[in-house]
Symmetry: C3
Subunit: 140 residues, 3 copies
């Protein structure tokens, strides 16, 4: 059983955003799978996906602070600067965090740890709508 569906996430400000519920609700076929996997793929190179703590907004703010320090906008060594100062750091951050998540599925739901939630990592100042391609497969 395979299902593939493209979904759109509304524009968010630069930073880390919890989108677990939004993703799950966009793929109702998830409920049909007893066991399987969900592959969630972002179709962009300046935003990314990760799993992390789904409770404190502090954690998501500290993610933004750390990534901005480690991948600085004003570094003299960037040569790809045509698309603005936030562009090249966004590409680096996107690859460090990665473009996709593969999530276990059990009994019609993402089988995540108690504290795990899906983060949309928006690395641009004005990233706009972000598209995800979700692929579900497994046994009913």
């Amino acid at each position: 059983m395979w299902h593939q569906r493209e979904i759109s996430l509304r524009p968010r400000p630069r930073g880390f955003h919890l989108v677990t519920r939004e993703v799950a609700e966009a793929v109702p076929e998830l409920h049909e799978l007893r066991v399987g996997l969900a592959h969630v793929h972002i179709l962009h190179t300046s935003a990314s996906l990760t799993l992390n703590e789904n409770a404190s907004p502090d954690v998501r703010r500290d993610f933004e602070t750390w990534f901005d320090r480690v991948v600085p906008e004003d570094a003299p060594y960037w040569t790809h600067t045509l698309e603005g100062p936030d562009d090249m750091p966004a590409h680096i951050k996107a690859s460090v965090l990665g473009p996709s998540l593969t999530l276990p599925v059990r009994d019609g739901r993402f089988a995540l740890g108690t504290w795990q939630g899906i983060y949309l990592c928006e690395h641009r100042d004005d990233g706009g709508v972000r598209s995800l391609l979700v692929t579900l497969f497994g046994e009913p």
Copy 2:
């Protein structure tokens, strides 16, 4: 053919630990697959999984040294400090390395490179038991 099994890894000290054999032995159904994939997912946000060099303990020690320098505990910019100084750095490290591995399977075994082994990356001082959810799927 789908198999899904939750396994527990005994508590380890903070650092990088080779667990390839332990994971393989915990999922005996692996031997039934001629070709397929194994998805190994950690159900936590302060520990992670990666593949790296399976021989020298030096390599695993240097991983710990590097990650501790790049994600420092004593940074003045952390705001999520309630759960101890090792907590917020652990969340960052966990997302940089990632919560899951997808491993190719061939002839009943993980089809890894000669030098590749599975690391449990324990980012907390006292992380305790860590749970993995392993999903196997493929052709017998």
Copy 3:
């Protein structure tokens, strides 16, 4: 439907290299899948795979610059130095970027974003030939 095929990438200099077409052409069975996934796994611990911008060579050059600064060769804290100054940094970079990509497949092609391409990330000065194990699965 499962297909698994080992492919070799010719030696490249240290840096980030666009290999999307080379990978796609090496797995002609891709055309038989209407919907599915492609798992692309590198069988090494000092090279890695990522998805990023497929147009400007500037972006790939800036990746190399940034990674060389954040994971420096001459750091006094490395203890695994037997295999040369580029070896231990290569292991770290490989795990930060990751050993595999899972790509959505639709209508016989990798279903990537407009700007997404596969990078071979060669972290050694003389990495030589790099082997990938590609696993395709899905519905015809």
